[in-house]
Amino acid sequence: MDIFLVRPFAFSHTEQPQVPDVPDSPSLEQFEHSATELVAAAAQAFAAADTLDALETARASFLGRSNGRMLELQRAVPSFAGEDRRAAGRRFNDVKTAMEQALESRRAALEQAQSAAAPTLDLTMPARRQFVGAEHPVTRVIEEIVAIFREIGFTVATGPEAETEWYNFTALNFPPDHPALDAHDTMYLADGVVLRTHTSPVQIRTMQNSKPPIRVVIPGNVYRLDPFDASHAPSFAQIEGLAVDEGISFVDLKATLAHFANRFFGPTRTRFRPSYFPFTEPSAEMDVECRLCGGTGCAGCKGTGWMEIMGAGMVHPNVLEAAGVDSERYTGWAFGMGPGRIALQRYRIPDIRVLYDSDVRFLEQIAS
């Protein structure tokens, strides 16, 4: 019950109908008479109410719980005994139901009339919105990649962002002072300690800590001594994968990555090109058909029709051995790619700095 309802004391539009009071100890006949009178009076009052407010006033005067007229009838019921009492009770219920029905049908009629008369909603006004959150576009790309590799038996591995040179370079077969290091302009934290330049140290850690069969994907942040410009950032996300088991071959690598490309981009041709990474041999790059032109050749792909997606290769035996894996018994393959680059392509973002600015207008745009 709504306690804040303020009850009016008089009818506002019609004269109060005269209905005799129900005597304190009526005969069944008197009871019946009062009941009939009440129903008629209520029907009249309801019919006379021409607004919902007036109808509410009428309702309170008959059906109100504190001083509605039906209370008088209700109070009279216990004054009967036996069969009479049951009859009076039934009669009371019938009256109440009839009264409520009359009330409801009048209410419905008034409401219909009112809504027909009310000013129509201006439906061009905007919806009431909610704030919704969103993952960063790069996280979304990572999650899609992880989900596809999970389908084919991969788990997720992670590792520290500060690493020793041994994990970042030596164990991965980087020759000391070699031009291969040029692609890994490195930030140092101390002598022999670097901010990892790739997620590959986690390959070593995973092989050290678990036995084959190993199938892991490794998302994480990596660091390069690259100042911000439209296509470079000093830290960025990378995701790589590693599969190590007996009998793993280059065909497995190609087939798995082509499968990934078809799942991630939709059906697409793929192409594998020779490449070089110190930690894989053979090394390859995988291309998919250019997302802009569909493979016919455009300025975006320099007319080749192909778009580079990732580097990959068979794990170099020196790397397996450095991580304590018997390279005669086990073979493996690995890949690595940049979810940030994929996000730039997917959302057609011309400048990588947009991914770092954390502008809520951008985050909302991509989220919705």
């Binding site: 905007p126 038996g153 962002e161 300690v193 190993i214 087939a255 954390s358 809520v360």
Partner: protein, 796 residues
Amino acid sequence: MNASFDWLKDFTDFDLTPRELRDALTARVATVDDVVALRQDLADIVVGRVVSAQPHPDSDHLWVTKVDAGSADLLDVVCGAPNVQEGTKYPFAPVGAVLPGGLKIERRKIRGQSSTGMLCSARELGLGVDHNGIMALKTEAAPGTPFLSAYAAGDTRLIIDVLPNRPDLLAHEGIAREIAAFTGNPPRRPMPDGMVMSDAPFNHASNSATTAGVRVSVDGNAACPLYVAVVIRGVRVGPSPDWLVRRLEGVGVRSINNVVDVTNYMLHGFGQPMHAFDLANLAGPEIQVRRAHDGEMITTLDGVTRKLDASVTVIADATTAHAIAGVIGGEGSEVTDATTDVVLEVAVFDPRSVRSTRRALSVSTDASYRFERAVDPHATEGFARYAAALVCALSGGVVDGIPVVIGTPPAPSPAIALRVPRVALLLGEPVPSEECAALLSSVGFKVTRSDSDAYSVSVIPPTWRSDVAGEADLVEEIARLRGFDSFPNELRPFRVGATPDSPAYTVTRRVTQALVQAGLYEIRPTPFVADAGANGVRVTNPLAESEAMLRASLLQTLARRVEYNFAHMSRNVRLFEIGVAFTRGDGPLPVERTYAAAAVTGDRFPAHFADPKPPQMDIWDAKWIAEQAVSAAFGVAGAMDLTPNSTGDGWRISRAGVNLGSIAPLWVDAPVWASRVYGIELDITSAFAGRSLGRTYVPLPSTPAAEFDLALLLPSGVTAGDVGRVITTIAGELLEALVPFDEFTGRGVPEGHRSVAWRLTFRHPERTLRDREIEGRRARILRALEEELGVRPRSA
């Protein structure tokens, strides 16, 4: 690497268009990043096909033709060439095109017949002198195709991405070897007109020797395993012949003179950097290859004066350094028009030494690039003979004396055993030993198959492939030469990974999802800050002082991101990040902790015309966000303890007495229109170790609840937490919920007090509670509150 299409043809024959060559090299050798036609003045010309040719009605030598130039309608073109033929394709200049001579093609009438465009001769296109007729094209290209993509007109440059393990591809000869391997045509060394190769023996010495009166010495400490010097006298320095100018143009090098051009020809043609010294400028005359003296000065060809130290190897005369070995020459020793006698230097410098010098001096040249990646020490002497012969042929000079070779090349690489079954295992497809042998031989490997051992073959890599050191390298050669795409994309059975998921990853995912559901945007900024405090971690070689340290708290980066948004006039900002913060560790490695952190400010919900002034986010929103993060990380929200912070405007978060973070107003540089910013930071690292507590089902109630409210007057110093503890203790286990739902100070509340209204919900799991049970509890609770805390009901 810039490669000239025409120059490659000097080294081997092939019948490929530049684009076909690009695709073939990309598939098997190295990626061709771009193909650039150098004759851009022919960009307007297209392929046109003569559909019909009728004699001109008013001329005895002109033809009226209809030309298909790719457009919808055939074009009328009047043509005077005797060789025009129906059905043949010719270069066609449409109206508006400009020919290489500057002639602009316009629509015109020739003896009453209109002509829209021009069929071109080779001479008109600058492609030769033949002007006897128009240039018939043998091409499959459709009419309308740009002429440059249908015809190799002028040179084309291929820009090749040569990877660090393949220095042999930094030369036309090396690329041509690879082309020869897939065309089957043999590679060759071009022999320009007038060149006479001598095979007279050179003078080999280990430290020093004299040639034509020039003493050449290599210090044992110098980073120079091999040094060849050839003295040529009587050169007439002058312009280079056209063919040489064109070759160098093809790779983007400007012709200088007939001696210097030879050194550049050797670098780009054979990958061997060289230097030519003017003998007249060499004091002694002498060449010393030695370590620089500490503080020795040299002005290099780029005009920079550099101070050297003993880590640098120089080429000097008796008194002065004339070049930084393998990197850059010095001013004053170069060949000029006045030069008559030269010393050619053809050498091998130690890759690591060149690399460290190049890095220390911040100067990278075509020469240093190649020496760093290693030149072929077994080819040095041959290159010296070739270069000397070319200089003599072009300049009229003569080799004087016997050239000297100081040092010896290293022993050739030993043979590598290649197990044929291993090839099949690694590649996933059997490659017969004959095929392995044929593929490897095609690029210069010496393969020996023994009749007694069908299992393996013996392979000696060519001297220019110092990158090939083991069986895996040979497998790569076989795979790439066969073509990676020859291996099927066939998904074969595999065993699923046995490594469990990283808990760091799974916890991070849970917290990420919880904070996204709380309406926050994830960000991924960089962790660099200007100052991370005394315990912070510094990058020893930072990009800038403003980002010289790694953050010790994620709130540091979040605050800057909020400021960025304020600067862009966004006042509703709700950001979170899950990332690493760094502090100094005991050893050289820093301590990494993973945090979930958030910053929120502005409207609690989006403004709407029906709710134009939404309330602003406050500390209570921040507290809820923190609870979401804690609950996602640790399983249940109750897993954290909140204690008021020292400023009393927020909390420290702890768990089992260990500090895990904070909830508090976040100080940022904010404009006046901004609302207050609240920051949350939670260390989730300890959640990685524990097992996540899964939620369990609690039976839904089947009995009605009984509720009553208490408006309580709390004297100052009494917290809601105190009241809650008393109530829960007294109320017993039937208390289902206890919520403070209103707080009030002011009229009717005594000074120094506040009124807090509580709703208590009781429920018995099996039956309806009776009124007097509830009343009894109410009385006992009120008594205890008064006795223990001095808290009385407000209405009393």
